[in-house]
Amino acid sequence: MDTEQLMQKYFNNTINQKEQLVFDDLLLNDENFKKEFQEFNDMHSVIKKETKNLLKQELKNLDKINKTSYFYKIMIAASFAMLLSVGSYFMFTDNSLSNDELFASNFSPCKNVMHPVVRGKENLSQIEKSFVYYENGNYSKFIEIIATSNYKSLDYNFYIANAYLANNNPKEAKLILEDYLDSKAIKFPAKAHWYLGLVYLKLNDLSKAKKQFIMVKKTGSFKPRDVDKILKQLEF
């Protein structure tokens, strides 16, 4: 193992006891290693700081999408709870989410079960490579690569729809999911109804969204509690 790998393991807390002994010995007795470690440590600290700054900005932007003040909601909800003197406080706050918030709190791209990425594997096929991008959240690249992979199964379309939805392109996701659900012998019908429901939610078509969530219940047992919850929230 080279010294940089050893340092990576040290910083990721994946170093084992034997490697730690080697690491400690090098740090104590090898001037070059000590210098390399200092440089690695500086880079790690700086990039960590930069990543934090970037994330902070992304979270602030996410909040801008959810324009209504959470605090305001809490105060209003609390006032209603006091006025009504019933236990509707939590129900009210849960149901007062906007369509965007409801979407954001329910959407996460479907887990990759087609080609789980095995770290360290070499000679990846075009499809496997595309799923590395999918798992790393680079959905544009996923779409770009998988489109040229000559895939045969329709179930890949389900993931492409997920990628479009994650990229804030619900219209494209809608076309693909509708087409997918019209097809025969598909692996993920219940999931497809769930994501199509979220697409309609994003497009503010609540009656179609409800129909899709009801279809999830009819088609399978995907996220039963979430489906009930979202249907309840849409009734409000």
């Binding site: 790998q5 910083f11 790690h44 605090f71 590395v132 991008y133």
Partner: protein, 179 residues
């Protein structure tokens, strides 16, 4: 999504799951935290820092063995940060709110260290690097990916190309600091 799956995704640096966790728990955190008599702005700021600390801990493998739920862990970080904030403002922590007896008392470590002078100048240089350099260096130095893995993630043809790209980026960074 269960805890282990979420931790695994966070460990891979999945920001989508981080944002889901952020939105899912924000309202509950603010409901919990407004008893500390801080402004909404301060509480949101602290909550964002707690989420970032959660992400950092996931990348550093510190979440692998936690016994509590992610929510309890996240709220424990947030609570610690609120206490720290109150201490800095020299405000007394009100003891009659029941917060000392609540369940958000998990032992949590998070990095709040500040950069040294050398690191600050390194940071200035890093900001000036191109996006591709930033990506390669972040994957390598912060996320802990091997050169082989970076080759795949960034769709390079060979590992050697990544290796020389990384060296070029480091050289560029050093020249930016020295000029």
């Amino acid at each position: 999504m269960n805890k282990n799956k979420a931790i695994l995704l966070l460990k891979k640096g999945d920001k989508a799951i981080l944002k889901t966790i952020y939105l899912d728990n924000k309202l509950a955190f603010l409901k919990y935290a407004y008893r500390f008599s801080l402004s909404e702005e301060d509480l949101v700021d602290i909550y964002q820092d707690a989420i970032i600390a959660l992400y950092d801990n996931a990348l550093n493998g510190k979440l692998s063995n936690i016994k509590c739920s992610l929510k309890t862990y996240l709220f424990s970080i947030g609570k610690n940060m609120i206490f720290e904030h109150l201490r800095k403002q020299k405000k007394a922590i009100t003891l009659n709110t029941g917060v000392l007896q609540d369940k958000y008392n998990e032992e949590v470590n998070y990095d709040d260290s500040v950069l040294t002078n050398n690191q600050i100048s390194l940071q200035r240089g890093f900001k000036k690097l191109g996006e591709q350099c930033k990506k390669v260096l972040t994957l390598f130095y912060y996320q802990g990916y091997t050169l082989d893995e970076i080759t795949t993630i960034l769709n390079y043809s060979k590992k050697d190309v990544v290796k020389s790209q990384k060296s070029r980026c480091m050289a560029k960074l050093k020249s930016l600091i020295n000029n």
